[in-house]
């Protein structure tokens, strides 16, 4: 049987959600730099406010430029829709507070970005939301951590910074067995390397600051809903009253009745973005859209360069360990082949055979790599996690997350890989002295 023609990833990267501007013919998505949008008449205004008509009211809630980005990322992820936010952290927060309130509990991988760990371990408990961190590779640990008030599983496609590959099919299977959704931070992989919804995840968010925008010039986030989770069925029944019971804040709307597939997004937009207000600016959305246009090209080159650099470091005598899942010695090598056939991204860590001082010397000797707190730039980056991104974690938590005093994290950019290797070689030689 012939399959119907559908648009492929590269085409969607350029076109999904957009069309030439009907008013001016502008081919690029215009930046609708307007806080608000004129109502044709009072009935139309009331209908927009009551979700009886489609359209934009106020740019905190939605904006035409931002909506193009939301639709594009939803298309690339294979979801039903998305909400763009002020940052990746805002996207994660929006996902959590849309589903959970005081007295709720999260089970999360312990291999997380330091900022995510902060939010879960230090900040959310102040609002009555607790998290148990587990070894992401142990399905028994995930199961054992579940409490009667658990409402969410959370992990990263590739754990930060050790690149633990989350076994999404297994973790999602357990989550669904228990009536829980699985939220995934897909920042390191982008939909070009993996679409978590294809493996059973229910919600995905990105720090669009990283590979989606790709040039280190913008801070933003995107939260995507797969539309698959049954909030009011089976073992989930009764667990998610924010979606299945009348909401006084919106005319007693029951979101799961309003939309079979997008109840989560409705509540997130009608409450979370409206009330917490961590929305994305239209100019930011434009910049992220520009980045996504070349996402397939950039990701292919990021991965190609990373493989070259990983091979160089793995063979270098002053390097004790390189944590990249494509290497046969990585504990998730086999799983990575299944879940990440296109590659394991462009961020990885390695350990020097040396002291912390030698590590510092190495970083300071680099010329092309920029020493800063970011990943996913077109330019190559380097950082020392134990003293920067993960410095708030206890020594015990650092060890559990696979971080040592000598761990160095690289984000490989789009430069000529020979130049990157030369820069690394020079810095290693300098540190070895």
């Amino acid at each position: 049987m012939s399959r119907p023609k559908t648009h492929r990833f590269d085409t969607l990267s350029l076109h999904a959600g957009s069309k030439p501007d009907p008013a001016t013919g502008a081919r690029a998505t215009p930046i609708y730099q307007s806080t608000s949008f004129v109502f044709p008449d009072t009935d139309h205004a009331a209908a927009l406010f009551n979700m009886e008509r489609a359209g934009h009211v106020y740019s905190r809630i939605s904006n035409p430029t931002v909506a193009v980005l939301e639709e594009r990322v939803a298309a690339l992820e294979g979801g039903v829709g998305a909400i763009a936010t002020a940052s990746g952290q805002a996207a994660m927060h929006l996902a959590i507070v849309t589903l959970l309130g005081a007295g709720s509990h999260i089970v999360a991988s312990r291999s997380l970005y330091g900022g995510s760990h902060n939010l879960l371990d230090y900040t959310l408990p102040r609002f009555g939301i607790e998290t148990t961190f587990v070894d992401p590779r142990s399905i028994d640990a995930w199961r054992a951590a579940i409490r009667p008030n658990t409402r969410l599983f959370f992990g990263e496609t590739l754990g930060n910074p050790g690149l633990d590959v989350l076994d999404i099919p297994r973790v999602a299977g357990l989550a669904h067995e228990c009536g829980l959704p699985l939220l995934i931070d897909s920042t390191f992989t982008t939909p070009w390397l993996m679409r978590p919804f294809d493996h059973g995840a229910d919600l995905v968010f990105h720090s669009a600051t990283k590979f989606l925008s790709g040039h280190g010039v913008v801070v933003g986030g995107v939260l995507v809903d797969s539309g698959r989770f049954d909030w009011d069925e089976g073992p989930a029944r009764g667990k998610f009253p924010t979606l299945t019971e009348p909401y006084r804040g919106f005319h007693d709307m029951i979101f799961s009745e309003e939309s079979t597939t997008a109840a989560f997004l409705l509540r997130a937009r009608r409450e979370g973005i409206r009330d917490f207000g961590a929305c994305m600016a239209p100019f930011t959305a434009f910049q992220v859209l520009q980045g996504i246009e070349t996402l397939p090209l950039r990701m292919a080159r990021h991965v190609e360069n990373t493989r070259r650099v990983v091979a160089f470091l793995a063979a270098h005598p002053f390097v004790s360990e390189v944590g990249y899942p494509e290497l046969p010695g990585h504990p998730d090598h086999a799983l990575a082949k299944v879940l990440l056939p296109r590659g394991c991204g462009a961020v990885f860590s390695f350990n020097l055979r040396g002291t912390r001082a030698q590590g510092r010397k190495f970083i300071e000797a680099l010329k092309l790599f920029s020493h800063l707190a970011n990943v996913g730039d077109a330019k190559s980056l380097v950082i020392h996690p134990a003293s920067t991104t993960h410095f708030r974690m206890s020594a015990d938590d650092l060890v559990k997350s696979g971080i040592t005093e000598g761990t160095i994290r690289l984000s490989i950019g789009l430069e000529d890989p020979d130049d990157l290797i030369e820069d690394l070689g020079r810095a290693l030689h300098s540190a070895e002295k």
């Binding site: 999904a16 489609a54 934009h56």
Partner: protein, 282 residues
Amino acid sequence: MRIAVDGSDCYAYTGSRALDAQKPAIVFVHGAANDHSVWALQSRYFAHHGYNVLAMDLPGHGHSGGAALATVEAIADWIPRVLDAAGIAKAAVVGHSMGSLATLACAARHPDRVTAIALLGPAVPMFVSDELLAAALDHDHVAYELINGWSFSAGKQLGGNAVPGMWLTGNAMRLMERTGPGVLHTDLLACRSYADGLADAVAVRCPVLAIMGERDLMTPVKGAQTMLAALADKRVVTLADTGHAMMAEQPDAVLDALRAFYRSGTSASQAFLFKPGRTLSG
């Protein structure tokens, strides 16, 4: 709202409003492998503008129990039983695709219960390819892909959703994927097997609104012309550059066509009376 129909627990979306005996009623009937949520914006509008709304999940679809009804006539005869269960004497009925056929048949078979009908994306007869039927029988995902490919106009295949942040085809796909094995095949077979469309059109006496998508590949405009010609009291609205999934592609245009129909003329207004003699505020 949950109501028991034929011993099965059925779901009707009411816009979070309790039914009011003083208001006229509109029943919305979805198409194959869909549910009430395809009418989200339109049904919510009417529920908040003077109407009792029953946007149904057909048996075996969405939140409704039971097995999918095997024929268009069975769906047509089910609608009055929904009205009985809800305590509603008469209602206007709005149907899309398969639902439009059931709506047409319902008006012909139960003229005392149906006061006006709106047919969105109808075709009589409704052609369903052997290829699509076979895929649906096998519960092959390609069936949903074929429907999505034919349901959205070419321009909308790349999105541009009127509802901010929603990916049109992704949402439609996910909704279809939620239907159980066999449901799509039952629905499609019901559409293809409906042979009395022309006779039913001749028999319909209430006002009819037909909304057609200019770019509809599932039920092309030409496929409804004979049926439309047979209707006695009709109004036809064709939406430019619109495909079969018209409630999603052009939600406001569909709503405006329905509103204009309800507000126009005596016969149309009477069609939406909950009780004879009562005027509408909609």
